[in-house]
Point group: C2
Amino acid sequence: MRILITNIAALCQTEAADTTPIRRVAGTAMSSIPTVNDAWLVIDNGIIHSYGSMKSMPEMTADETIDATGRMVLPAWCDSHTHLVFAAPRDGEFVDRIKGVSYEEIARRGGGILNSADKLNAMDEGLLYEQSLQRLHKVMSQGTGAIEIKSGYGLTLEGELKMLRVIRKLREAVNIPVKASFLAAHAYPRAYRDNKEAYVDLIINKMLPVVAAEGLADYMDVFCEQGFFGIPETERLLEAGWKYGMKPKIHANQLHHSGGVQTGVKHNALSVDHLECVGDAEIEALKGSQTMPVLLPGAAFFLGITYQPARRIIDAGLPVCLATDYNPGSCPSGNVPLLLSIACTQLKMTPEEAINAVTINGAAAMELEDKMGTIKHGKLGNIIITEKIPSLAYIPYDYGNMPVHRLIC
Amino acid sequence: MRILITNIAALCQTEAADTTPIRRVAGTAMSSIPTVNDAWLVIDNGIIHSYGSMKSMPEMTADETIDATGRMVLPAWCDSHTHLVFAAPRDGEFVDRIKGVSYEEIARRGGGILNSADKLNAMDEGLLYEQSLQRLHKVMSQGTGAIEIKSGYGLTLEGELKMLRVIRKLREAVNIPVKASFLAAHAYPRAYRDNKEAYVDLIINKMLPVVAAEGLADYMDVFCEQGFFGIPETERLLEAGWKYGMKPKIHANQLHHSGGVQTGVKHNALSVDHLECVGDAEIEALKGSQTMPVLLPGAAFFLGITYQPARRIIDAGLPVCLATDYNPGSCPSGNVPLLLSIACTQLKMTPEEAINAVTINGAAAMELEDKMGTIKHGKLGNIIITEKIPSLAYIPYDYGNMPVHRLIC
């Protein structure tokens, strides 16, 4: 099956065939999106075969030819942090929070992670899968062409396995890469409230061996935060994950300068995610590391809290990755184009920086940089054809409208 | 033509046939959205004929029957403040602003109102109409069932008339109410930079008589702000508008406590719009007046500036109206559902308050409260059928996704 796309107004985020592959972009390099104007692109059996300028398009045949006059083509979004598998929305909690109801009272009324866990554990696996597949199809229609999904609403062996099996089934159902992170350390179940060490033991001794034996998770995740999993617990969990080859990808520094970023770097985390609270110490720790800082401004928007200091991180020469954090409590949206608008208007990232953050850097935060994130010969042909738009900047500018005409995957 | 909608999960914002009509809602009343669960609704030749509970639905026939199982029905959004007629997007200015470029430099590079005016004056009226109609169809697909559109990118007699004629043509092209506001006092053209009084004279003596004679505008608008049109100029303009029966509907208090709100109230403005800068004096002025405070948080979001104090205004017992401010410079989005999400997450309005603000209060801010804004016998049948959603709160909660399944108008 060969697809030929012609008359592309701008083919964005291209890499030449014969240069050293780009693994991630950082600092000032994030301002650049290499582009071929008036271009053609060939995807052969789902793999990018070749591209070039219309002026020098060779004679060729294709099974499908798409005329992209006036449209742009970009690599599909790589959304490296989501909780897309969940049992029920938390729209009641949303209203309670607007009204200033306390966290404890919200939990009493049926909000919070523990209530999501109750609902997930009570839900049939088939229904959980169907609902999650609908959400996955929705975000794919918004341009997402690779995604990471976390467990963490089970908090029991059975519940966590149920979630991870659903993620595996989603991976088999769609034509895009789906990565799974094991996040039993998302919250302490009620039964362990007074014996937190026993829950960490349960994760390490009972859950992790089963998850690893069944090959259900790519990454080890921990909600590292004061009042949740502290530094000592996080370190035990990450070390245990590494023994099964599961790299860390952790929640860090959402609410406090907790040391989570430094702990992630120390344990060679693939990424440290959230980062509302980042100062000099965190930036110094990230410098020289391969750990990707992943910002989740959609959650900051939805909660009405302070945004992540993206400019400070980029201006320090570091890479920035953006992800949606799609989840029922703090970010019920997996809409990447809107995430780009939030990043540009609130974090003051330029459109180029924001697009690098959800393409090549998003790919890197899921170890997909060899397969996704740029238009390069041999990479997956998961690409976005945009609506007719006048510029790359128009994608975040035209906020609330959908710039994605079609996802090819 | 009779449309019967059955099995509506929740018919929202209803008014009984035999009670005193609601003209606007204020203060604590904004927390209430009267609802009939499991309902039917009949629209007869575009007019709401009757509604009730499915338990007591009479035998009837219809030309079209819609099964709304799992869906909600609401009155269509009334967007009372837009600049939907414009010649070109300003995505370049968007990037410049992110990079911290000064206003003067942005203007030099082709941004700002004066550059929008250059492009509009250069554009063929037919093309301007076609582009604007596309935008209007887009916002209608997002649930907007009545809209106000301003002139103000002409700043010459010919340019202003061109815009107002396009608005009139739009009104004839769609099945929803379209109101026009005359906003020649949007900015001072370059030629009048050193003789501002002469431009106010031009508006009053040359433009206004023609606009009024041709019946092209319903309202008189002024950008009342330090550095734009001050209080004395605003008062002259509003008095001149009143002479032709054009009620004031003005831009006030966006950047400063400029006295614009008080001036609007003094001149019996239908609405005062923007209101980022509102304190005790402005709230006192609004109390006891019929002037509607209209908040435009989409622009505050897009510019990354302080949001309007909606809670303070509502808690003072006043009404609040929300509108999109759809325009190419400070809010390139006419998406009302996303506006509701911004209002709830950033202004801490409850979903009920936000929905009142874009239905009955939006109608009131366009003098359409007799025709729109609630589900009431005899009002226009411009209604929204939602996607299958679990609650009214889900509309702003599920941000970035489109809750509108269908607009009937």
